[in-house]
Symmetry: C2
């Protein structure tokens, strides 16, 4: 507070910078450090500009609402599995350097004898130090922006992993938002429990909507919090009955060198209903997203026969639902995700690489052939397609049919650092488009499916639902496609190579019943 000289014959008003004249009510409402104007009259022009100090710390909804309007439905799919996927992403990153099996568990605690509903994601990865745990909570702090640890933490600057085949590099963290988006999309409170290797202590932290609201009410700093450092197995701080399930979870700690548990409570009722009733749907969606992590670089069915799988040690993603009728399953068991179907029903593959001009990004691509056998196409049905009433009458060449038909769905599913980006597909490239091809092969073009594997030089949106501009970049005229045969780049024109491959597939695999030479008409009198 400064002192002003005002002569006794002068009148004046004190006003806020919004020109509200101070009275006792307004005075009470003033915050510390408020700027006030001393004026001769309310509407007087300012003799000189004033500078007012403000603070614009993000609202706590930055965390709480971060996922609410992010995971939207496409093709009639509930997007909840894609928020769970963020937590699996984190667990995959955390277990990337495991020596033994990489184990990720999703436990749905919907048995009310154990407490209120909770979703737990548990991994046996590197865990977090208390500093890393704090950093988990910092919105938008990512591996790129994290400051180098001031005391020898593992966190010392980001090193991009070496390129690996099909970019299955387990490096699926990017923006510093995924965990928070996911957790508060699923429920309204999260307890993070983690123990890094070598530490005798477990670190634990709770962030909840309720806490934020209380802090606002008490005019405390909303982003202050507490990490509890404690012995493994010590659940003396868990006092409410609602979280009884924590006792067992914490008791399990004693046997573990390192782990992270993400415990979500306040799970929204709609989500609980979906997780219970549609377990087949969402486990299939997850099996699709992580198909190549779970089954290895060549996918299910192929994993035995191939030696070059990058996925050693093994990745095990377990789902358990504790409810009246408990379920325990390994995502590996899912048989009907679209990638498994494509692989199972393919008779031949065509591999290629795409190189874009500007980004130095590479894309590994794969096209599979699904032959016509005797009386029917073997192209798999899309298990994700909404089975609307329209789909019954689904003649291929009916004029004026307005919905996209099964065989007209895009060729390519797209993977980013090895995991599916579910809402981006690439319909085709020039060189594999039917409209560019030979007339006699026309039908064969609808017998191909494909996969594109990119690394993170092709950015995705923060919710990992879409690529930013993959199709634009790939269809740029400077993008260069090369066929890969037995691991070797082939010189030559990809369109010619592809057409030749397609022709071979047709001749070798399609078994059409043909009526070759007309002999004569027989009248079968016996009928």
């Amino acid at each position: 507070m400064a002192t002003f000289g005002i002569r006794s014959n002068e009148t004046f008003v004190l006003a806020t910078t919004d020109r509200a004249v101070l009275d006792s009510k307004i005075f009470e409402g003033l915050q510390d450090d408020s700027t006030l104007h001393l004026l001769k009259q309310k509407h007087q022009a300012l003799a000189a500009p004033t500078e007012e100090n403000i603070n614009f710390t993000p609202h706590y909804d930055t965390l709480i609402q971060s996922g609410t309007y992010e995971y939207w439905a496409s093709r009639g799919q509930n997007p909840l599995p894609y928020s769970l996927a963020e937590l699996i992403d984190n667990a995959l990153s955390a277990t990337a350097r495991n020596q033994g099996v990489r184990k990720i568990e999703i436990r749905m605690m919907f048995d009310d004898t154990l407490g209120k509903p909770a979703v737990i994601v548990l991994d046996n990865g590197c865990g977090m130090t208390s500093k890393q745990l704090k950093n988990w909570a910092v919105y938008r702090l990512s591996k790129f922006t994290r400051d180098i640890g001031s005391y020898g933490s593992e966190d010392e600057g980001y090193v991009r992993p070496d390129p690996v085949h099909r970019s299955l590099n387990s490096d699926i963290s990017f923006f510093g938002v995924g965990g928070k988006q996911a957790v508060f999309h699923i429920g309204d409170s999260v307890r993070m429990i983690s123990k890094p290797y070598g530490s005798p202590d477990v670190h634990e932290m709770v962030i909840s909507k309720q806490d934020f609201e209380n802090k606002v009410k008490n005019k405390e700093d909303v982003y202050s919090g507490i990490i509890r450092n404690r012995k493994p197995g010590d659940f003396s701080h868990v006092k409410t009955n609602d979280e009884r399930f924590l006792h067992n979870l914490i008791l399990e700690e004693s046997g573990k060198e390192r782990f992270t548990a993400v415990v979500i409570t306040g799970v929204f009722p709609d989500h609980i209903a979906f997780l219970k009733q549609d377990i087949e749907v969402w486990t299939r969606q997850l099996a699709e997203v992580y198909h190549y992590y779970i089954h290895g670089v060549n996918g299910k069915e192929m994993s035995d026969s191939s030696a070059d799988s990058d996925c050693h040690p093994e990745i095990k993603i377990m789902i358990s639902l504790r409810d009246k009728s408990p379920v325990v399953m390994d995502l590996r068991e899912v048989e009907n995700d679209i990638q498994t179907l494509y692989i199972k029903l393919a008779v031949d593959t065509f591999e290629f690489k795409a190189t874009t001009a500007q980004d130095g990004g590479t894309v590994d691509g794969l096209i599979r052939y699904h032959p016509f056998l005797y009386d029917r196409e073997t192209y798999p049905e899309d298990p994700n397609a909404v089975q609307g009433p329209d789909d019954e009458d689904d003649g291929d060449n009916e004029p004026g049919v307005l919905h996209q038909e099964r065989k007209k769905r895009p060729i390519f599913d797209c993977f980013w650092n090895g995991r599916l980006i579910p809402y981006t597909t690439v319909s085709e490239f020039d060189w594999c488009a039917q409209s560019k091809g030979a007339k006699e092969l026309a039908e064969c073009y609808s017998r191909i499916s494909g996969v594109l594997f990119t690394d993170d030089r092709f950015p995705v949106s923060t919710n990992k639902l879409t690529f930013m501009e993959l199709e634009l970049k790939l269809k740029h005229r400077d993008t260069f496609f090369t066929r890969i045969l037995k691991g070797q780049k082939q010189r030559g024109n990809i369109q010619k190579d592809f057409t030749q491959w397609l022709k071979n597939c047709h001749e070798k695999w399609d078994k059409q019943v043909k009526f070759l030479n007309f002999k004569k008409t027989i009248t079968r009198t016996e009928l």
Copy 2:
């Protein structure tokens, strides 16, 4: 600092909660208020749990990066116009209660004699008090979460506007993120200048990436800032040559009762190139997004003949580009946005209302008929379709064509509170689907286009690019459709009504050349 009693025969270590033993280097790196463990040895188990105070204020990238991975490309479109749209949204909200014309200007200052490149969005709306200006900067603070102003500001709690026809309610603010997402998607610094009605002062604030970086370097609070309150027309604080264009902008203030100017600098070079070169593309995209705000509730062409337009006073969105070849235009002049084309080429309309069970949300719908005339369809080409090389050969009924064909594009474009949500379309409903219809009308089903108008009970994603689950909700079996005729709800079966309407359209409007009765074959010997 507390005092501990340690006997002289005891040895001990002081360690961080991450169990780093304190030495002089680590000691220097400690932050105020750090929690330390006093232990007999580094790896000793904790005798009792400790509680460590942490702070997890969001990283400043919460603002700076908020738009970077949000506006993705779809159908080959550059999404930049959709970030500009966020600023137009704000200006539409701000001018909603204007008495006279509602004027919104987008000025691209790309003339380097005026300073560095800048994008300015200017409106003659309600302006912001200094408190509201501060609130602008608070990420995720929305009209729903804003605390009620402690001294009589206009900000006192949110009141949902009354329902209006087709939800053109100008209430297009929702999440408290749009402005920040947009501004930092376009450039790396923003200067907000605003004057609310009745205030003698202009309020001004700058937020920039550079500022944030400096504050981190100086260990200051990143979210502290300054608002400058000054006389209108006073540009004495603008000292750098880079921002010369501000002189004129600030000089204009004197004639204005109220306004807001959003001045973006550090505009990314890619954006500048696109804004300059593709001005026809992005003005068309914007004209599409705001078609019904600009032209009134019935759209272009219809606006004269109709009396019930809700868009009084008039909304004027002006675009100017100052460059070697300057451009000034009114978005109203755009002739080739898809809505204008649909309206121009329609001969008849079918109106309906959809009522969903749970949300109490309503949807106004409209279907238009584009007849066959003599030798061709009049259904407009989609100006947004990427003109890939494939599109030349585009036969309607070729089997196995994998890309979506023009006539197979979804029927409905979808508007939210009157503005287009560009990446969500609804393909069809059961009752207007060809597969459900009479065979003899089959072709007519591909001659319809449509529009859906929803209010904000149907949530959209924070970037306003997609609806969250509009299609899911509308296709729910409890959704109820009613035909609207001359403003009145019609009882009866909508499918029957629609089919009848379609049949009438066909009979009345389609002019097909038909060869009716075969007479005889003529050989034209003169050829």
